[in-house]
């Protein structure tokens, strides 16, 4: 296929793609993330159990399925559940407006186990309630009675007698003390829990402060991550033993007494016969007395286990009977089968040996009749329907965004995107005239193609995703700038327009690929390791970078190739800045000392700020709850608000009026220690009652301490792997010695960005970290461009010192570096000015990074490379030769010699120089 026909084919292909994409953009709706459409987002962290000793990928996948199906059953539609890194799960509930019911489906996992009660009882209860004890039951009962009296729970009052008669302990403290004395069962595989820790008050009656927790340090934080007092007595219950509580049953109604203060506590050997995973199809039903119960079937394994364990219980009951017994006597002698849900006994049916001498056949299923009301039975059935989670899940962060705020964020993001695109287009046209118009067409094509891809894949568009989109506009424009500057260089050397375009693209493409691969690598690392919101940013950045190669390189090359023989282009009127030689002719290496000194001073200032101010970490790292609320009542003060929410423990919260258009005139932000969903709902209720809350005017974000640690860990890993990948790629493409200056430049950018954040007190959030990480890759764009030219010039300048090669290379690419950075900054500044709060956080980090990246690429990485390479014997020899022949080493090598070499190369390429126009001097 000839060049002209190929160009026409490519143009028609791209045109077709753009038209189809435009139709897709118009017809297909965009899938918006929770931050843009409103809803609730939760992050859960997986933790091991004795049965699943490590959080495996399979266990995480199973948990994801269970949460998804469980929430579907609870009527929470369109739930988005996905894995997040190795041990976290992200749950998004679009449209949810309350953190109540909607979040329960994900955060209240049911852990159901079935125990042979009598055979597993430990402590005094074993002596009292079974025939397996070694002491006189009456003596033990007497001692127990005293315990109940000491615990201020007189055995004769209320339901205490009922619980005491079963051998229950009156307090958790007493039960845990008994449990703590048991021997650990290290190799137990059927155990439901590892070692568990409890924190009790030091003073009697030693109320429970927190626990059970699987890690001792977790005792000092409540479920929502709020710090708890360090004082107290810690007790450890070894693996193999558990403490369960049981509520008494009202003899009159047969129902469970719903009052935790009436609980009794038992110590059990942790040896369940079945678990929640052995049952299926749990349903809320009514029994023959019209009482609500929960029925279920067993799986094949569960059926066998159920039959076996009930047979054992029945046979033991039978053994206790002497001679024939009546059904009532049989019931009294029979053992129990305890159903324990989340460490609470919900039912303890008797396995009557007279009725079921061979145990109970599990084929007809079983039922739990715990004296529930219908709602309790329904809830239990729903929890059981979810199946047993294979691992523990801990809520580490939650975020609630109202639909109004989401819409506002979307409007701001789209506005910033469009304005950024327009500004970049104006800049390109002003700076490059006709070439700029071509690049603008490419950018518009890129925008349409990318938007279509977002809808087709579909990529869930989030606020960070919009930031990624804006950055890719910069990437797309950069590709064109790299090539156009190259084309102009070739024209300055006297080549015809056609040959300049051919050579420009041929030589520019490797630079673009190198630069984009580094960006792609960083986006990939970010996608793998980042939190869910940031994944959107990484994905759009990665996909956008790939699409930009198609539009910025393939499309523009065909368009320019097709037009290269027109009179307009041949006259050179379509190009600007092609007259004379390169614009820059600066002895960069001679000025390296001063540039280094400037960098040194900047870093010292940054270090000073870091050491005195530190970093202003947001709640992503520090944990806490941030509530934004729009009040209907005018003139409310922060103090009035504080007084209103003091009842829920927010008296010390940071409360301030905020200027937020989406929330209206009476908007406030409340920042406090981490609140749980019910507390947040309570705050909303209080504010609604006291001042009135505008429709969709309540947003909250809660982050637990482990989430911050997880973000920090992910960031550390992302930095490490990004550095490895970037260093590896640069080493392969350029050589090992190019790697070290690149890494120094990256560290330089990173530390300067940290210093600026510290100096100006900007908040460091997970979004900031993502932007920093992106900068690690993207800021190398300029470094790659300079290095690429150094690598290209090195063989062309056989007698030049390395400093001379670097001086020439930097002079040649200076315009390119400045223009690419400027075009990226335009988009980012649009993000900063017109984007909302989240986008601004991205924009600041990216802006700082792009600025620092350009500086370090030009004035740190290249001089370091030159200083290091100068020590190689080849370049020492050249240095010596120039000193001997000229008496000094000039900043630039002989231009004539370089030009000659370039002409020879062009001839070898078969691309001739034109007779007129610019010429090499």
């Amino acid at each position: 296929m000839g060049g002209r026909r190929r160009n026409i084919f490519v143009l028609l292909f791209v045109l077709g793609l753009v038209i189809v994409s435009a139709i897709v953009v118009v017809k297909k709706p965009t899938q918006l993330g929770l931050d843009l459409q409103g809803g609730i987002e939760l992050t859960l962290q997986g933790r091991p159990t004795p049965q699943v000793k490590e959080v495996t990928s399979e266990a995480m996948d199973r948990s994801v399925d269970i949460i998804r199906s469980g929430c579907d059953r609870l009527g929470v539609s369109e739930i988005e559940v996905s894995r997040l890194g190795a041990d976290q799960i992200s749950v998004g509930i679009p449209g949810a407006t309350s953190v109540g019911t909607a979040t329960e489906c994900a955060t209240k996992p049911a852990r159901l186990y079935f125990y042979d009660w009598q055979n597993n009882l430990l402590g005094p209860a074993k002596e009292i309630a079974t025939d397996k004890g070694t002491q006189d039951p009456q003596q033990v009962l007497k001692a127990q009675r005293q315990k109940w009296i000491d615990a201020d729970r007189p055995p004769t009052e209320g339901y205490n007698r009922q619980m005491m008669a079963q051998g229950a302990e009156p307090t958790m403290w007493e039960a845990v003390n008994i449990a703590a004395e048991q021997q650990p069962d290290e190799d137990c595989e059927s155990c439901t829990s590892p070692n568990r820790y409890y924190l009790f008050e030091e003073k009697a009656p030693h109320d429970l402060i927190s626990g059970p927790a699987t890690a001792k340090e977790d005792l000092y934080f409540d479920d929502q991550g709020n710090p708890l007092p360090k004082e107290g007595i810690v007790k450890e219950v070894p693996q193999g033993t558990i403490v369960v509580s049981e509520l008494p049953t009202d003899p009159g109604t047969g129902r469970t007494v719903d009052d935790p203060s009436q609980s009794g506590y038992f110590v059990l050997r942790d040896n369940p016969a079945l678990s929640g995973s052995d049952i299926k199809d749990p349903q809320q039903q009514l029994d023959q007395f019209n009482q609500p119960n929960v029925t279920f079937d067993f799986t094949g394994k569960g059926r066998d286990s159920f039959q076996e364990i009930t047979r054992t219980i029945a046979q033991e009951g039978q053994a206790r009977a002497i001679g024939p017994v009546s059904p009532e006597e049989a019931a009294a002698l029979s053992g129990n089968f305890a159903i324990v849900l989340d460490n609470q006994v919900v039912s303890k049916p008797i396995i009557n040996f007279a009725e079921n001498p061979d145990g109970i056949d599990g084929r007809t299923g079983a039922q739990i009749s715990g004296g529930f009301d219908i709602k309790e039975a329904q809830n239990l059935a729903e929890y059981l329907q979810r199946g047993a989670l294979p691992i523990d899940l801990k809520l580490t962060s939650q975020s609630q965004v109202s639909a109004t705020l989401g819409q506002e964020a979307l409007d701001q993001g789209v506005k910033a995107l469009v304005i950024g695109l327009i500004l970049v287009i104006i800049f390109l046209i002003v700076f490059y005239r006709f070439l700029g118009a071509v690049a603008s067409l490419a950018l518009l094509s890129y925008a349409v193609l990318f938007l279509a891809l977002i809808k087709l894949i579909p990529i869930t568009l989030t606020l960070p995703g919009i930031a990624g989109l804006v950055l890719t506009i910069g990437v797309a424009a950069d590709s064109n700038i790299v090539i156009f500057e190259r084309v102009k260089e070739e024209m300055r050397l006297g080549r015809s327009v056609a040959s300049a375009i051919t050579l420009g693209y041929r030589r520019g493409i490797s630079t673009i690929i190198d630069a984009n691969v580094v960006t792609l690598l960083t986006a990939f690392i970010l996608f793998v390791l980042a939190t869910s919101g940031i994944k959107g940013f990484a994905f759009t950045l990665g996909v956008g970078t790939l699409v930009s190669l198609l539009t910025a390189v393939v499309f523009t090359q065909s368009l320019l190739g097709l037009m290269s023989n027109t009179d307009f282009l041949r006259s050179g009127r379509g190009f600007s800045g092609i007259e004379g030689k390169e614009r820059w002719h600066i002895n960069f290496m001679g000025k390296a000392k001063y540039l280094f000194a400037i960098s040194g001073v900047i870093l010292l200032v940054g270090a000073g700020a870091l050491t005195t101010n530190g970093l202003n970490f947001g709640i992503d790292f520090e944990s806490g709850t941030r509530i934004e609320v729009s009040l209907e009542q005018d003139g409310v003060t922060s103090d009035e608000l504080r007084a209103a929410v003091a009842d829920v423990g927010l008296g010390d919260a940071t409360i301030q009026a905020v200027d937020n258009k989406a929330l209206g005139a009476n908007a406030f932000q409340i920042q406090s220690e981490t609140l749980d969903p019910s507390e947040i709902a309570k705050v909303e209720d209080i504010l609604q009652d006291e001042f009135g809350v505008s429709q969709d005017g309540f947003n909250s974000t809660s982050v637990g301490p482990t989430f911050g640690a997880s973000v920090a860990k992910s960031a550390g890993l992302a930095i490490f792997f990004s550095l490895i990948l970037i260093a590896g790629y640069v080493a392969v493409r350029f050589g090992g010695k190019y790697t070290v200056p690149v890494l120094i430049a990256i560290l330089h950018d990173f530390l300067i960005a940290l210093g600026i954040y510290s100096l100006l007190g900007f908040e460091v959030s997970s979004a900031t970290v993502a932007a920093f990480l992106t900068i690690l890759g993207y800021s190398q764009y300029d470094t790659i461009i300079v290095f690429d030219r150094i690598r290209e010039n090195e063989p062309k300048m056989p007698r030049a010192t390395y400093s001379q090669i670097v001086n020439k290379s930097m002079s040649e690419v200076m315009t390119r570096s400045l223009v690419t950075s400027f075009s990226t900054m335009i988009g980012v500044i649009a993000l900063l000015v017109f984007g909302g709060e989240t986008l601004q956080a991205f924009a600041i980090a990216i802006l700082v990074g792009v600025f620092s990246g350009t500086y370090s690429s030009l004035f740190i990485a290249s001089p370091v490379l030159a200083l290091w390479k100068e020590r190689e014997p080849t370049f020492r020899r050249r240095y010596r030769q120039q000193m001997e022949t000229q008496g000094y080493v000039p900043a630039f090598a002989s231009d004539l010699e370089v030009a000659k070499t370039e002409d020879e190369e062009a001839d070898a390429d078969g691309v001739g120089a034109k007779a007129t126009g610019g010429s090499a001097s």
Partner: protein, 90 residues
Amino acid sequence: MSIVVWFTVALALWHFTIFVPDRFWQGIIGALLGCVIGGVISGAVIELAMGRGLSDTDILTFFTAVPGTLIGAYVVYWLGVRSGEGKVEH
């Protein structure tokens, strides 16, 4: 945070080694290694010797990296001179 501060101080001071004739062992990269290793070690040693933690920072944290950075740079320079490295002038 302390280690970030020491590292930043060491990196900052390294920039000024360009004013010294390049006779460092392994050149400017050797100087970087000397500065950073020296800075971080000196920061940690001084802070620990003074019984301070490594997480909180104050202005003293900044200065604890300085002697080690200078010593590290000097050691690398001395190694370079001893091995007769680098006599390139600019």
